[in-house]
């Protein structure tokens, strides 16, 4: 099975703080990590490879430092890594990103499955995965929490998966090749192995530049992005309210009075 996993290197937003004096983001000392949802995607790809054979190719679009994330993915069991990086891609919104990635994937070659994490924790849009499947015109299953079965032999190659919904889940069957986005319920990512880490250190990362792709340059980067960010600001910090004082019974009495009208 030829599996492609798309990952993104993101700042660890769980550790991002707001400077209380200037009310701005403090980015110093915040590590770059593999987007947490993508870690689940990598794990699922590696598990499928272990079950069905084949290769797992990790693809990322980002600045040169994203290579670290690719090497980390190799240490987790992936086979190949591709860095799609070029100044021309800078400023891409999700449309341009999914366009660029879909072209890069076409260049990489034949695949049976593309796995993406549900969303990136910096952008939080969840748009790139479905965007890629739209550009490639392949079916998609989003919010996959379990892959039930994969049938690779015969004419009708397909997979069956559980797609998480607000009320529970749906069972969807899709022909291959297709794209899936995965949620955290799907598996428990493994830790890197020593052999994996050594491999990651030595492996040659394939690089794809804008000129290597069969693309319309007008559709790349900031120019190719339909959406434009005009302003970034930090939300006014939520102010604390009042502290309720007194004995437990007193406090409870006060709180009940304050809340009772708010309860629908």
């Amino acid at each position: 099975m030829n599996i492609i996993v798309c990952i993104k290197q993101v700042p660890d937003t769980t550790n991002v703080r707001i400077d209380p004096e200037t009310n701005t983001l403090i980015r110093a000392g915040v590590q770059s990590i593999i987007n947490p949802f993508d870690a689940y995607a990598i794990e699922e790809g590696v598990r499928l490879k272990e079950k069905f054979g084949g290769t797992v190719t990790i693809v990322t679009m980002g600045p040169p430092q994203a290579e670290e994330a690719l090497r980390e993915a190799i240490s987790l069991g992936a086979d190949e890594a591709v860095l799609v990086s070029d100044r021309a891609f800078a400023g891409s919104d999700t449309w341009a990103t999914s366009y660029t990635l879909s072209k890069a994937i076409q260049k990489i070659g034949q695949f049976d499955l593309i796995i993406c994490g549900k969303q990136a924790i910096d952008g939080d849009t969840a748009q790139v995965g479905p965007g890629i499947s739209a550009h490639l015109d392949i079916p998609q299953i989003t919010y996959v929490k379990k892959i039930e079965d994969v049938k690779l032999d015969g004419a009708h190659r397909h997979m069956r998966a559980e797609k998480m919904t607000e009320e529970g889940y749906e069972i969807i069957e899709s022909p291959l090749p297709c794209l899936i986005t995965v949620v955290k319920e799907i598996n428990e990512p493994r830790l890197p192995s020593l052999k994996g880490k050594m491999r990651a250190k030595k492996i040659e990362i394939k690089k794809i530049l804008a000129k290597d792709l069969d693309v319309d340059p007008g559709l790349l980067g900031l120019n190719g992005s339909p959406t434009k960010v005009v302003r970034i600001f930090t939300p006014p910090p939520r102010k604390g309210g009042q502290m309720l004082e007194g004995e437990a019974k007193e406090i409870c009495g006060k709180l009940v009075e304050l809340l009772k009208c708010e309860i629908p």
Partner: protein
């Protein structure tokens, strides 16, 4: 301190640290309270290729030695000295095979241990033979193609959980220490049973049991080295494994110190955090220095061993002695620095003190270590 580790050693250390912080730390209190053996951690270590870091590549390991072993053991012990023991004591039980096994024996037993599929244990101590190891009463009677083992080993770490046991027994009691031999015994062999699991003060996630041999028949192919070499096997094994115990002690001490400083920073008395008080700062400085000194001694000893130097008896004993005494002192002071909270089982620090104690006792008590060191320095002085 920068110990100029190789890239691979850094990888091993970082991987062990990741496992310790992400997987072991959350479980430590529960496994200690309930005495749960950490098979799940062994699986994680096995999946990460860490179980064979001191075993040759040709037998399934990753080709490292004592240095790799101590790096991993220290990191794991920082999270829990009991859980790390499942790994460290396996090394102890495996070294007799590594040092004295034939190629066939190595091929048969090492791969599964290197892959983390099986654990090992070393059986020397008996009720009547602790420091006086020469007084062992377990016998191995040669009968045709077999040896028949009879006797009981006491307080064996990994006892009951491991599949592979290296056991020292007496073939000829009239020869005393020179009549002993080392054997490989497998769990499940007829006549090999286990006693009850001991209820210990500390390292409670580690399993400690008696090994009971009743006419246990083992094939002669399982003899390690030659008859009469039993104590040589034991001594050489301890030389190799003492840095491992020392590393466990360094890890326990470091883990305790790290927790303590974190606590002290947020504990406020007299309007400020208690890290502001010079008396306590001095305690921290002493502890940090002593731990670093232990670590440096352990690494120096491990490097000596890896260089193939056969004369490591004194250094090995020094590393074990100093690191374990440091661990006991540091963890006791750490409980002190936590104040009343240090005494409460709800808080994690008292466990470190309970865990540290055993490092002063097993694999040769610190009194025996002092004896060994004294013998060496006296001998060396005479030969000048």
């Amino acid at each position: 301190m920068d110990y100029l580790l190789t890239e691979e050693q850094v990888m091993i250390r970082d991987l062990a640290r990741q496992i310790a912080q992400e997987k072991i730390k959350p479980l430590a209190a529960k496994y200690d309270a309930e005495g749960i053996f950490p098979w799940d951690i062994i699986k994680i270590m096995s999946d990460s290729d860490l179980c064979g870091i001191y075993i040759e590549e040709k037998y399934g390991g990753t080709g490292g030695g004592a240095m790799e072993l101590v790096l991993a053991t220290e990191e794991l012990s920082r999270a829990c000295g009991g859980i790390s023991l499942a790994f460290a004591a396996t090394a102890l039980g495996t070294y007799p095979i590594i040092l004295f096994g034939t190629d066939e024996q190595k091929k048969k037993y090492l791969p599964d241990i290197a892959k983390g599929k099986k654990l090992a244990a070393f059986g020397l101590t008996e009720a009547g033979a602790g420091s006086d190891a020469g007084a062992i009463a377990t016998t191995a009677e040669k009968k045709g193609d077999y040896y028949i083992l009879n006797g009981t080993k006491q307080w064996i770490t990994n006892g009951g959980e491991a599949e592979t046991y290296t056991v020292v027994a007496s073939v000829d009691r009239s020869k005393g220490a020179r009549g002993a031999a080392a054997f490989i015994v497998e769990k499940g062999m007829k006549g090999f049973e286990f006693g009850k699991k001991e209820d210990k003060m500390g390292i409670r996630a580690s399993a400690t049991r008696e090994l009971v041999f009743t006419d246990c028949k083992i094939p002669k192919e399982n003899l390690l080295g030659k008859e009469g070499m039993g104590f040589i096997v034991a001594m050489k094994t301890f030389d190799q494994s003492r840095p491992g115990v020392a590393a466990q002690a360094v890890g326990i001490a470091q883990g305790a110190l790290d927790l303590t400083i974190e606590y002290m920073k947020q504990r406020k008395q007299f309007g400020k955090s208690i890290t502001s008080f010079q008396g306590l700062q001095f305690m921290l400085a002493d502890m940090a220095t002593e731990i670093e000194a232990s670590r440096a001694l352990v690494y120096a000893c491990a490097r000596m061993l890896d260089s193939g130097n056969p004369k490591v008896g004194k250094e090995s004993a020094m590393a074990k002695l100093f690191a374990s005494d440091t661990a006991m002192k540091v963890t006791t002071d750490c409980v002190q620095l936590f104040g009343g909270y240090g005494y409460m089982r709800d808080y994690p620090i008292e466990k470190f003190m309970r865990d540290a104690k055993i490092t002063q006792i097993y694999e040769g008590t610190n009194q025996i270590q002092r004896g060994i060191i004294a013998n060496h320095v006296i001998k060396e002085s005479v030969s000048k």
